[in-house]
């Protein structure tokens, strides 16, 4: 039963997430809230690990979430279910490549998905910021990271490594 839910949830993520690897986080956040397959702390840990291992972040988080939920089989199911919508969409789009981007409904859909995706991410940012408010060290580090990357953003990996090292140094 848990496998079916897992397939369903990750298929939906693959179908509806929009705007790169971190765009899947709102869905993972929601899964954590309603099913409790992993805690919010574990979610940040998952995203962290997914960002520093090879492979697309959006797919790595699925692998990790599946693993947390129901072991290696869950991991394989979550990863592939998340990619199947791409498989279907790409085949359809490849066949009607030229007509696709001119279609009225496609245009409206893409125009609508952007603000929704933006709102989804903003809401996760708000959700994850709440626990940070009680941790002054986290607030300072967050402020510095945002200042550093505000003008010219480098690869996320770079900032995650810096913050990881800061985290270790604070414990020394």
């Amino acid at each position: 039963m848990i496998y079916l839910l897992l397939i369903y949830e990750f298929f939906m993520i693959g179908l509806f997430s929009f705007g790169g690897g971190y765009a899947t986080i709102p869905f993972l956040y929601h899964i954590s809230e309603i099913y409790g397959w992993y805690s919010l702390d574990e979610l940040t840990q998952m995203v962290a690990v997914a960002s520093i291992t090879p492979g697309p972040v959006g797919i790595n988080t699925a692998t990790y979430a599946g693993l947390k939920t129901s072991g290696i089989l869950g991991s394989l199911l979550a990863t592939t279910s998340e990619m199947i919508p791409s498989f279907i969409l790409v085949i359809i789009v490849s066949k009607i490549l030229n007509k696709f981007s001119e279609n009225f409904y496609v245009k409206v859909l893409l125009e609508t998905l952007k603000p929704i995706g933006c709102a989804l991410l903003a809401s996760v940012a708000v959700g994850l910021l709440k626990p940070t408010l009680y941790d002054y060290k986290a607030m300072i580090l967050l402020g510095i990271l945002i200042l550093l990357s505000w003008r010219s953003k480098k690869d996320p990996l770079y900032y995650l490594l810096i913050s990881g090292i800061v985290g270790i140094l604070l414990r020394l």
Binding site: P54, L89, F104, Y105, P115, S163
Partner: protein, 184 residues
Amino acid sequence: MKISLLKLFLIFIKIGAILLGGGYVILPIMQSEFSEKRKLVTQEELVNYFALSQSLPGIIAANMTMFIGYKLRGKFGALSAMFGVIFVPFWCIVLLASVLGKFVNNTYVQGALWGVGVGVVAMIILTTREIWQKSNRTLYFYIIFLLSLISILIMKISPIQTIILFSISGILFKSFQRKRGINK
């Protein structure tokens, strides 16, 4: 010249292994593998696929992988590319998760996880800003953005339901607008 499914699988294992960081590095990697080294896909096609991959829903890297796999060897090509690209990342995660499980109580590991966790929050804020900046912010954009935010944050409607709700309303609204425009 046709590439074998096995070869495709192997090339994508390599791509999955060297793909680090955001999905945006996938274009240069694909260019060197498929356009420069093997001349299987032209530069122009790759850029086209990349633009489409970003405008389609789903993981950008997954879309890109499927486009190339499908172009080279059809449905099975797409599948073998898919299993190739997740191969190394998959085992990395499984391994790291089990190792992490053993060391998670170590104070330095906890420190690193705390730090990277803060970094992730920063990255989410920056990604939000990036999508915001890249979008064509019309009145329509602001309205949908605000309504979605209310729907998720205040009304606690799930992301998928929010997406379905506003996509359908958006299409209905725009169709209505278009119809009125034609009638005038």
